[in-house]
């Protein structure tokens, strides 16, 4: 699958172009996800998988971001990105700019921490939340 690296400033413009007929008519955002590389200066990779019905081909876009950088939301281009970006915020703590409803998707809203970051241990949990809401010492 061809892959493109995009600067975050150009992201929305690039997406709009790719969606248009001249850009290849990538009408569907199949998936949006992220990956964490804590040793890098820009630790997050945001990965977009696009699909074009016309050309029957897929394209991967990649944007890099550091922990306190905001990423422009692509919900304006593909409304389907809404929940996907919320999930990335939930799991990685990446904040999107221009997202209509930036809050957690899967975890409880008061949860502290972002589990898919590499420095979040697999046994870790928000102990205070578990104690208050479930009334148990540990969920493990």
């Amino acid at each position: 699958m061809p892959s493109l690296n995009v600067a975050k400033e150009q992201l929305v413009a690039v997406c709009q172009f790719l969606k248009s007929p001249e850009g290849g008519a990538y009408a569907m955002l199949t998936d949006e996800t992220a990956a964490d590389y804590p040793k890098r200066e820009k630790r997050f990779d945001i990965i977009y998988h696009l699909y074009s019905f016309q050309g029957n081909n897929r394209l991967r876009l990649r944007v890099q971001a550091s922990a306190n950088e905001k990423i422009p939301s692509v919900t304006g281009v593909w409304p389907g990105a809404n929940w996907l970006e919320r999930e990335i915020f939930d799991m990685f703590g990446v904040v999107y700019e221009g997202h209509p409803d930036m809050k957690r998707l899967l975890l409880p809203e008061e949860w502290v921490g972002h589990p898919l970051r590499k420095d979040y241990d697999i046994l870790r949990q928000d102990e205070a939340w578990v104690k208050t809401n479930l009334g148990i010492e540990s969920g493990q």
């Binding site: 199949t30 998988h49 389907g80």
Partner: protein
């Protein structure tokens, strides 16, 4: 006297779920209502979140295979198939034809089983009691074949990275052909109950309409997208296994309503039987495992692989750093992404139709929450 009372407010928010029989699991929906009319919905999900993607990073490639069965637990075979194929793509392994056809047979049987479960519960939600007894009877026959093949009925763990763990048992082809002969007339039987049933038509026609443009914008895939008239099926568009060697049609709807999606899924079950029959004819003795080492260490790199699961596009995005553990595993769950369309589909409908719309989306909360 207060100037306004609660009677003046024409907007009411009520809660549905997470414990509600028609939400097919632990889905919670906040409904904003004006009388009986739905103004908007908000889904609250995550009650079944188990952190599957985090678990994957702490397991080896092979160790993670059984976990994927627990996402869409009514279609475990296709879940496993997507994952093992993604790892095979990462490793660059070819698998032998016998394993390919076996996988296709089991995957299509799984599609039938998944659609049967959908049909039974969807009809039950809408108020037709009978179909669920019929569909579970036929689903049982599929599960018996699974049990005979790999010892499990639900979370099958049927495939291994590189091929199959078990060769087919004696009489597998006979059992599968027998099932196909037995099953096709049963689909007609379901259709007799529902297709021209006036209550069924009234409850499903023009309910939960989603246009093709809306569906594509919301990344909706699978039977829901095809119900809106988009003739797109990954088995045809980007074939995997040996789907390019078998003949089948891609049924599509026209209006994008609940009834059309019903018609599409019924037709899909017939097409699945057609695929299974061709595979049974072609399956020949031979090896069942490709050239895979004892220790799986894919080269550093990334891969995205998706298959047509019963519910839509099931994708796996894997990142390898060259060690035995995957660096990142992302599952693109069709149920989650299709569920996002609930809001669009339920606007201006009545409360009772919400149940029909959740049913027609065919979600499994194990996969929505992962």
């Amino acid at each position: 006297m207060p100037e306004t009372t609660f009677l003046d407010a024409n907007e009411l928010v009520i809660n549905m779920g997470p414990q509600h029989p028609a939400t097919h699991g632990v889905l919670r929906v906040k409904l904003k209502l004006d009388g009986e009319r739905v103004l908007g919905t908000e889904c609250i999900i995550g009650y079944l979140h188990r952190g599957v993607e985090k678990i994957a990073e702490n397991r080896t490639y092979a160790q993670f295979t059984p976990y994927v069965d627990r996402m869409d637990y009514v279609a475990a075979v296709t879940n496993g198939m997507g994952y093992v194929e993604a790892v095979e793509k990462l490793l660059g392994v070819e698998i032998p034809p016998r394993a390919q056809y076996t996988r296709m047979i089991l995957a299509e049987l799984q599609r039938i089983a998944s659609h049967l479960l959908w049909l039974g519960t969807h009809a039950l939600d809408i108020g037709a009691m009978t179909p669920v007894f019929y569909t579970f009877r036929e689903r049982e026959e599929v599960l018996k074949i699974f049990e005979e093949y790999c010892g499990a009925r639900l979370t099958t763990h049927a495939f291994r990275i590189g091929g199959l763990q078990y060769d087919l048992y004696d009489g597998f082809e006979r059992d599968v052909s027998k099932f196909c002969d037995y099953f096709l007339p049963k689909v007609d039987e379901y259709e007799q109950l529902l297709t021209k049933n006036r209550i069924w038509i009234n409850r499903t026609r023009k309910i939960g309409v989603i246009t093709a443009e809306e569906a594509i914008a919301l990344s909706v895939t699978g039977p829901v997208l095809r119900g809106s008239g988009v003739k797109w099926d990954i088995r045809k568009a980007q074939p995997y296994e040996a789907y390019d060697k078998v003949e089948f049609d891609v049924p599509v709807g026209e209006h994008g309503d609940t009834y059309d999606r019903y018609v599409v899924r019924m037709a899909e079950m017939r097409q699945s039987v057609r695929i299974v029959r061709q595979c049974v004819e072609r399956i020949a003795p031979g090896p069942i495992f490709g050239k895979v080492g004892k220790v799986l260490k894919p080269p550093a790199g990334e891969v995205y692989h998706s298959i047509e699961a019963p519910k839509g596009e099931l994708g796996y995005y894997l990142v390898s750093d060259g060690t035995v553990n995957p660096y990142r595993v992302r599952v693109r769950p069709p149920s989650l992404i299709n569920l996002q369309a609930l809001d669009v589909m339920s606007r201006d409908h009545l409360v009772a139709d919400i149940v029909a719309i959740i049913g027609t989306l065919d979600i499994v909360l194990g996969e929505v929450d992962r």
